[in-house]
Every structure is written in structure tokens, then in C-alpha cells.
Symmetry: D2
Subunit: 345 residues, 4 copies
């Protein structure tokens, strides 16, 4: 079985494993106060061109989203998100468990438009009964989205502008940020991300690390007491160095970028193979997740050799599925899949 079901089916990039083994016997202080974490922070600040940013390392994505959001909102405020956003669907109510409503907006492709946010904001404040409703308190987007789509620089700038006008912090879930930045149709850099939002995280779990997400706080007013919120939410790893070492490795010499590009290259090969056979896609993704719509009988045959995720039932005979590549995807596996696509379709 060759797995394309997700982008977390392997361990970590070999350079990370090597570094973890090399440093294994070092004695360090706990909770992210070690030198590896400090170095990783510096590399990340540099990559973001955000010298004054605070950087914190967390273990996973649900944790990162929950902590970022809980640190910002007052009790009566909610987080604005696309109805397909990860926090709205696939985190078992982690946000609500901290007391906050997710205020969802419809989205055909997983993205929020600046205009939508402005309308929601104005609708709230224009309503005479606004105190009877959850107040929008921040805007959450993911880049790339859960559907593999990406924001263009102008789209993100427009969203950022509206958020700043409305005094709504803009928070970006970057679980797959590397793959979004490496998309061929992307004109966004990491520095753009950092300059346009107020807080975001750089995903490691799905991009080369064993586990780990780096939260970057840009806006000064949001930095205060963040470590308390991490600890309260069970996110403060005793051996914080493990996260530091991994992000140090990923950001020291561009590894994060290189392996992200590899994943996207592999995804594009798969995309082209499907497209060449006239297959349609559920979403226009140029990132590491591809969502072909395929006849169920073809899927049954593919399933004998490959794992993928079921995404949506299109009709009685067709399904949209997800094939993921990652930093770990082997070219020979992709070639094998392409060969089978050619033969089966």
C-alpha cells in the first residue's frame, strides 16, 4: 500500500532525525527556554523579515489554533471563519470548548473574501440587538486552505486592510504554509504573510518535522502572557528543545522551502496525469493536495495499491477524493501512480 491519504504518514526529514540523534544527550532547560529554540526563533524571524516578532513552538495544529484564538478573544467574541475552516469542522469543538463561537461565512473554495468580512462586521454593528449576538473578535483563515486553494497577494492585502479597519486581528492557520508558499501560482512570500496578518503559525507536522508548529506573533498587543495560555492549554512541551531543534533544521538553510517545493512538484505531476485524462477537480488546488473527481469503479481499482481520502460524494457513480503528497513523497511512487492513472482511465 502506497499512502497518499494525508501528508503525515511518515516520520521526519532525515536531516531532522540526524539532528535529534546528534543532540540527544545534550542537557538543556525545559519549556522552550533552550538555545535550540532561541536559534530557531532567530531563523524564523529572519525568514519572516519580522525582527520583533514573538515566536512560540507548539506540538500540533488544533493546539495552535485554539491557543492563538483563546489568547485574543474576550468571552463574548467569536472567530470569523469559512464554513469549511478547520476550526469550524474538524477540531471537535476545540474553539467552543474555550467558550467562543465560530462565526462561519459561506465559501465555495475555502477562502474568505475581504468583502464578506466587511459585511459581517457592519451587519453586526448595525443591528440594534447586537449585544444579543456574538461579536466578531478576529478573523481566521488558512493558507493554503483545507481545499488546497491559496490567497493571492492582492486578496490577502484586501482582507488585511478590512481587518485593520475593523480592528479585527487576522490570524492565519499555516498547517501547510510551506506548500502554499511553494504553489506555482502563488505570489506570496513568508514576509508578505508576516506583514499582512497579526498572528500565524508555520506548520511543521505536515512539512518535514516529526511534529511541531511555530506560532509567530506580529502585533505587539497580542504578545502579552502568551506562554501562560500555552501552558493552560497543555501546549508547553517539557522538552521544548525537540521543537526548537526541528525548526532550527528547517529554517537554517532553506530546508523548509526546498521540501515544500518537492511536495508541490510531485502533486503537479499527479494533477497533470489526471488532467491529461480529462479528469475534473473539485477544487483548483496548486498545492500538495489534489481533489480529482473520479468514477467509483476506478477508485476501487486504485484502492488496491494506493490509499487516498474520500472527500465528497458527487453522484451515485462519482466521488471527489484527495491525494496528498508531502516532503516525504517518493518520486517512484508518483510515477507508479501516474502509470496506473494512464492505464486505468
Amino acid at each position: 500500500m502506497i499512502r497518499f491519504e494525508s501528508d503525515y504518514t511518515e516520520g521526519a526529514h532525515e536531516q531532522i532525525m540526524k539532528r535529534l540523534v546528534e543532540t540527544n544527550e545534550e542537557q538543556t532547560p525545559g519549556y522552550g527556554m533552550d538555545e535550540h529554540c532561541e536559534k530557531a526563533r532567530q531563523y524564523i524571524r529572519k525568514a519572516c523579515r519580522a525582527e520583533h516578532a514573538d515566536v512560540h513552538f507548539l506540538v500540533g495544529g488544533t493546539q495552535a489554533n485554539t491557543i492563538m484564538i483563546a489568547s485574543i478573544l474576550r468571552p463574548h467574541q467569536g472567530v470569523v471563519a469559512a464554513s469549511t475552516g478547520h476550526i469550524a469542522v474538524h477540531e471537535t469543538g476545540a474553539i467552543e470548548a474555550t467558550g467562543h463561537k465560530v462565526l462561519t461565512l459561506p465559501s465555495p473554495d475555502g477562502k474568505l473574501q475581504a468583502e464578506q468580512v466587511k459585511e459581517l462586521y457592519e451587519a453586526h454593528w448595525n443591528d440594534v440587538t447586537h449585544e444579543h449576538m456574538v461579536q466578531p473578535g478576529l478573523v481566521y483563515i488558512s493558507h493554503p486552505t483545507e481545499n488546497g486553494t491559496t490567497y493571492s497577494k492582492s486578496e490577502l492585502a484586501a482582507l488585511s486592510k478590512v481587518c485593520r479597519e475593523c480592528d479585527l486581528p487576522l490570524v492565519i492557520d499555516g498547517a501547510r504554509l510551506g506548500y502554499g508558499l511553494a504553489a506555482q501560482d502563488s505570489d506570496l512570500s513568508l514576509a508578505d504573510i508576516a506583514s499582512l496578518c497579526d498572528m500565524f503559525y508555520i506548520g511543521g507536522t505536515k512539512v518535514g518535522a516529526l511534529m511541531g508548529e511555530a506560532v509567530v506573533i506580529i502585533k505587539d498587543a497580542l504578545k502579552k502572557d502568551f506562554r501562560y495560555i500555552i501552558k493552560q492549554n497543555g501546549g508547553m512541551l517539557a522538552k521544548g528543545r525537540l521543537l526548537g531543534i526541528q525548526f532550527e533544521t528547517l529554517f537554517e538553510e532553506g530546508l523548509y522551502h526546498d521540501i515544500s517545493k518537492h511536495a508541490v512538484d510531485m502533486a503537479m505531476l499527479i494533477r497533470e496525469a489526471f488532467a491529461a485524462k480529462g479528469v475534473c477537480f473539485r477544487y483548483a488546488s496548486m498545492t500538495n493536495q489534489q481533489f480529482p473527481i473520479l468514477p467509483n469503479e476506478i477508485l476501487r481499482k486504485l484502492r488496491e495499491k494506493y490509499s487516498y481520502s474520500h472527500w465528497e460524494t458527487i453522484d451515485a457513480r462519482h466521488s471527489a477524493v484527495r491525494f496528498c503528497t508531502s516532503w516525504a513523497t517518493k518520486k517512484e511512487h508518483v510515477e507508479m501512480l501516474i502509470k496506473d492513472i494512464k492505464e486505468l482511465l
Copy 2:
């Protein structure tokens, strides 16, 4: 600097690192549904002599405590704990953040006595205004305690009996469980623990693993939907296999026991060196944490070569401090420390 400040200053036991490297390219399903997790579950059930137990792997201790407790309590219930309990002091209100009060009982040594729990329970139900007070909903202890002390088999049996009479689930924080079981004065086995409580966790972070805690649920009524609660609290690791592989290694052939014993042996050497010089101890710990009471001027000298934790100011000239050993403690470091103790004191 030789670090004795905590038991999480190094990475992981070399066998674990080896196994992580060997399995790094394996492709597995996520979220703990892989074969390594399954094997680890079987090893742990066997070690606990608890064939029907559910076993779940989490990343850290605050997470484990929060998830265990939140999974059990109804909103108006609280958790009974020693006033020194980890959840009462050092988790930044993680339990309260899930809506529950920690009902503390005084404890000179970190342990709860059966009688205390019975009294609190009866006091609650005998009070005519009990509906105006938080209802005791479960009992939380740690073994060994934060002070390094351990429960004897008869003490734990008495506590267990009271808890069952009062229909209060008994939950054990086993962050350092290995070190408690390896204590020379302990007559408790892992199977005893499993038979006397309703839910507990076996700590990996402090006992050989990079990170990871194995929650063991004994009581059937407490098993339902536990994975939802894990996910909601950000505890479901995408690459769950990392935890499975580590616990597989620790419980396959007794490694957990062996390395725990090493740590305790090292601690006893340090203890004896202090005791031989007439030093008193803040707590009667026979586990990996030692709490000598030392003159501040001696501490100043020790600090030049060794790190330790400040625990309590005893008087203007004396402090209680903590020296921790662990699975990773090197005998030569202990010997060096002992030599210095002999010379300084």
C-alpha cells in the same frame, strides 16, 4: 554545567532514538490507529494485567490530566486533590479552564489519606446547602507525588476502597510512575495500580521517551468517547505512531522498569551522600527526586557546577532544593556530585 534540575533535560533513551530512526520512512495511518500504537497498547495491557483496559497515547502531562478529568466530570463537579497536587498548582489553571474547581485537601507530604477523602465526601453531602457548593466528582492523586513520596499498597487500597464506596473515580497522575514503582520501599506493582484505580497514566516524558504519556482506562463506564475529548483538547497527535513506537520500545522487554530503577539507584547514591553529612530532607522521598535542606552558601558553591531547583525557603540561611536524577543520569556525574558534597559539607 551538570543538570540535576529536572528529569527532562535530555532527549530519549538510545533504543527509542534507534527505533524512531528505523521506522522513520514507514507509512502509517495517523491519530494513533497504526500498528505500533496497537502493539504498545497490548504490551501495556499485559504489564498492567488489565486485558480489557483502553490505552490512549498523549503528548504531555498537563494534557493527560486535563483530558482524564474533563472526560469524567459533569459541570458542577470538582476534582479532589492534595493542595500541592500538580493540577492545583502548576498547570496554569488548566482544570479550571475546562470549568472545574480543584477541591484541595491539606497534605504535608503530597499524599491524600483515605480518611480525608471520606470526610470531605460526607461533609459535602451532609451540608444542607450542598447544591451551593461544588460536588466532589473524582479523586486525583499522583504516584509518586510531586514531593517524591509514594503510596504503600495498603494506603492505596484504603483510598481505593473509600473512592469506590463514594462512587468517586480514582485517577492517578503517573508522570513519574516508573520512579515510584522502582522505589526501594515500594510494595506496589503496575498491576496493583491498575486494579486499585479507575484511570491513570504512565509517564514517558520523564522516563525515557522524547515525550508521551499512556492513559490507561480501567473502568468501563469511563471509556466512552474518550478520543473525542482527546481531540477537543488538542491532544491527538497527527503522527500518533511516534508515541506508539516509544511505548512499544519501553514496554516490549522491560526497558521502562530498568531505566526507572537506574534513576532511583542514582538518586539513592546522592541521598546517602547528603545523609552521611547529616543533611535533612524536606520530604521522605525514596524516588528520583531528592529534597535536601542546605545552607545557602553551600548551594552557591554547588551552583557553579550543578543545576538544581529551588523548592522552598526554610529560613534566612537555608533552602530546600530539588536534585533530580533520571533514566539519563550518568554515573560519573553522580560520583562527581558526591565527591563535591563530601568536600563542601
Copy 3:
């Protein structure tokens, strides 16, 4: 200004005021343990034909909804509701503040259909990633709905059947229950409500009382420790007798029914006046709330003498508005309004 904007613009029915004054100097125990509360409980049980029901008195509707729902759900569960449901829109996230997501289903008229609930339930359990999503834990409806619509006996029976099959408690928000039961097209009795759901409340605030809602718990398993949950949520009135006296008055000799019928009769007069002029209604309400769609210029004129609520902007020149009647609505006011409708339209 004659107010039709809501059904809580006056104090209480004169019989209630009389009773409150008469009993004012009585000394009673607090927190709902007095004889007035006990009598009111008996009257309500009798009216519901539910001898074994528990009855609790609360001050307001948000409180009642929050307490009912929080008392039932485990942390990972959510409450299924129409997207227009009061808890989903107009309670400032009170449900989320207790940690629970509101799982909304679309509804053109404010009602949930049995089939919808079944589909949502099955979709959850059929999804392989269901542990990553909030589990449906109970179903909340309002009768009548926020839109004035009502369930027929067969609709409610079908919903009840599905809920029992799926082990989802069915909870009814009866803020305006009297007006729903008094609707001319309603074939539901209070006893039907009690037999088909698991917990509900009988609204007093909008139906004759100064304030107060009576929660009726039908299902035994949901009765335990309810008073703790009331207290924790700030819902336990020190002078509980105030609620007891009011519900005693309302249910002793059918006052609740009589005044509800009056409100609906008044609403039907208004409805007929609008309908006679060819006015369309936003919702097919036969209860005390009427939602005519009117030209904005007519509204401007009505506004000089009458208050109403803006409900929805239909187009540049038309709005749907709400006219409410209540137990307190004076016939001469309705006649004046009708006369003006005839003249203006």
C-alpha cells in the same frame, strides 16, 4: 406610542400582582424550597399529565436554555438546532460559553424536520473521522419557533421518534409555549409536549409573569443534580417563591391558557386586517407574532403611533416586520391599529 415590538413590554397579569402583594410579608425558605413553589410544581405536573416530572423555576429564557443544555451534554457534544434558533443567534454565545457548539441545520420556517436530524446523526456516525467533529448530543427546538410557526402533533411525534432512536434527548424552548398551544391550527396539548420530549420549559416572562420560566424534566436520567447546574449558572433565585407564586397563579385555574388565547385572538385580528389588504407574510404564523411584509413608506407612517420590530429587509422598498401581541394587549389598541391599516394600505 402603542407598543407591538415585543411581548414583554408590560409588567405582569393583575392576578399575579395581586398575589405578590398579598403574600409579600410571608416568611419562606429560599431557593425554591417554599410551599408556593411546591404547589406550582404540582399544578404544572397535573397540567402536563406528568406526575413524575421534576419542575424547576428559573428567571429567564437564555438562562433556561443554557442550563438545560449544559446539564445534558458531555464536553465533546453539541446541540442540534435550526440555524434561526434562539440559541444559535440571539444569546451572545451563551451555549458556546459553556463549551458546546451549536450544530445548525437550515430551516426556512424555524422548524427542524425529523428527517434532517436523522441525516445529520447518520452523517456523523458514518464519517470515519467522526472523532474529529462535534458529536450531536441533543436536539433543541422551540415551540412556537422564533418565527411564530408551530409543530403539528405528527411532526413533533416524528421528531421525537427519531430522537429516541438516536438516543438524542429532545429539548423544547417554550418561551412562548402558551401562544403556541393556543394557535388555532395547533393540535398539540401541553400533555403531548410533555410526552414527546425529554425536557422543556414553559415560558412565563412573555406569558403573564413579571419574569420566570418553568423547566420540566420528563426523562429520569436527566434529573440528577439539576439544582447544582442551576446554581452554577446563576439561575437560583434567592427568593424563589416569587417564581412559585407566579406559576401557582398561572396554573391554578387555567389562567395561562386563557391569557395565551387572548394574545392569539388579538394577533389573528391584526393578521386578518393585513391579509384583507393583500399583505403577504414572511412566515405562516398563527401565533402571537405576525410578520407582515410592508412598503417602507407605510412603515414610516405606522411608526408614528406604533412600535414594531424590524425583521428583514426584503428589497429596497419593502421590509418584513414583527408585530407582537401578548396577554397584555388591549383590544382598543388592536382596533386602532386595524383602523390605521385599513386607511393606510
Copy 4:
């Protein structure tokens, strides 16, 4: 049975009942936006000599405490209180249910000393692991305390000074504020209270009203969005006018002060009767609650005619009990009790 068990055994002061009846048919907007509320706000601001204060009306004390505290704290912060404080003991974990720990300080008499708060604050910030502990976020006291004791002006000024130095808002629970201000040994005025704290509430439930507490927000930074927090916590009464009318009556011409004084006068008569017989008191209360320590056999006899609250078991033969007076206490009842005290003791 003559009730001295609590200060909420009757309805409301006759002037309030009269006003409620007189205004019963008035039509007003809901949720505290009516003219009675507005007038009451003005009277209260004037009485507090706090022209710029925000004033909000809530139904009960648990609600008031929860809403005040939840509106101020960030998630990782806790509220500092005496271990006997109402929020620490008798609100069924209402504060914890909003996610916050109550950080208790020992207190023999129910009061907090400035020094204690300073020590706790410094201990927190001096601890290197402070991020692992709940951060003190505000200070809560009650005046008078649950034990009937009161702060002197200099004590409150000292506490206020420390709170301002430490940037900890000072919040006062004034459930029985009138009785505290009327204490013969009190040198505090309502204006002093308002100038020395940041937020407090003036209790109505126990001082003349059917129900209701007036929250007064002094500090500008704490005013924002308070009504949202009220609504979210189920504290926004639909017919808010009911609270407005009551506080209007209480503060229009000094009624609140006069009836408070009556209660304290009655309590002093009882106190003197006990003292004349050599009875000791559990607390040095000069307010409406008296805590004599009496032989159990005397209590058994008193119980035949009078209700009181059991407070504490002193030894096998003595108990501390509570006798409460209130605005409603009849002089003839007090005289009867005094006569019996004289005869029995």
C-alpha cells in the same frame, strides 16, 4: 415559626410593591433601556458621587459576581479572594465554570489585608515558573463579608492602594452593602466605596427589593462591552424595568439607607441580648448577621419558635449559628426573641 435564618425570607419593601403595581401597565422597551432604569442609574451615580460610572442591573448575586469577574479576566488569570469568600465556597463553582481559578488567601474574619495581596502578587511574579501558575488578575472582597465584618476606611484604602500598584482591579461584592454602610462602627460611605474600588455591586435582593443587584463600573477600561457579557451569562432581564423601578425607589429619597439602618438596629438589639448573657460571638459583626456561639440544648429550644442557620460546630456541646435581620424584620419579633434569650440563658 419566626424566621431569622436569612435576609431574604420576605418579598419587597411596601414602597417597591406599590411602585411595581402602579407602573404595571406602562409599556416600556426591554433589556434595561427604559426610563426607570435610566432614572435609577442617575440616582445611583449621584449617591456614589460617581458621575461617569456605568450602572447595570442584574437579578442575583452569583450572576453579578460571575459577570463582573468574567468581564475582567483573561483566560490565564484568576481572582484573589478570601478562602471564605462567597465565590470560593457557595456558588457551585460559577467562577471556575467561566474558566477561572479562585486564588484563596486565609482569613480569620472574612477580610483580605492589603499586605496579603501584595505578598501573593510578589510571590507570583518572583517565581521563575510563574507561567505555570494562574496569574492573579483581580481582587475580590465582600463588604460586609460573609461573616458580617466590615472594612474600615483605612483598611479599604490600603487594599485599594496595593491593587492599583499591582494593576489588579478591585471588585466588591455588595450583596449586603447597605448593612455594611449602616454598621455603627463603619466610617465608609458609598462614595468612599466607589472611589476606592474599580467595580462593585449594590445588593437589592437582601436589602428591600424583590430581587436585583446594581453593578457600578468605576474604571473606564472595564466598561467596554459589559452588556454582551451580561447577556451571555443569562443576566439580561427581558423586563429590565422591574429592576429599574426597584432601584429607583430605593435610591430616590434614601430608602436604601433607612431600611438598612433598621436591620442593623434590630441586629444590635439581638446582639446586646446575647452579650448581656455572656454569650460569645464567632465573628465581630456589627451588621445584620450575628453569629452567637450557643449550647446545643439552648438551640434546640430556640428552634421551636425561631429559624436560624447552623454555621459551625464548635465542640460537642456548642455551635456557632447565624441570626439575620433585614429591612423586613419586625420589632415585635426581635423583642420576643430577646425575651426568650433572657429566659433561656
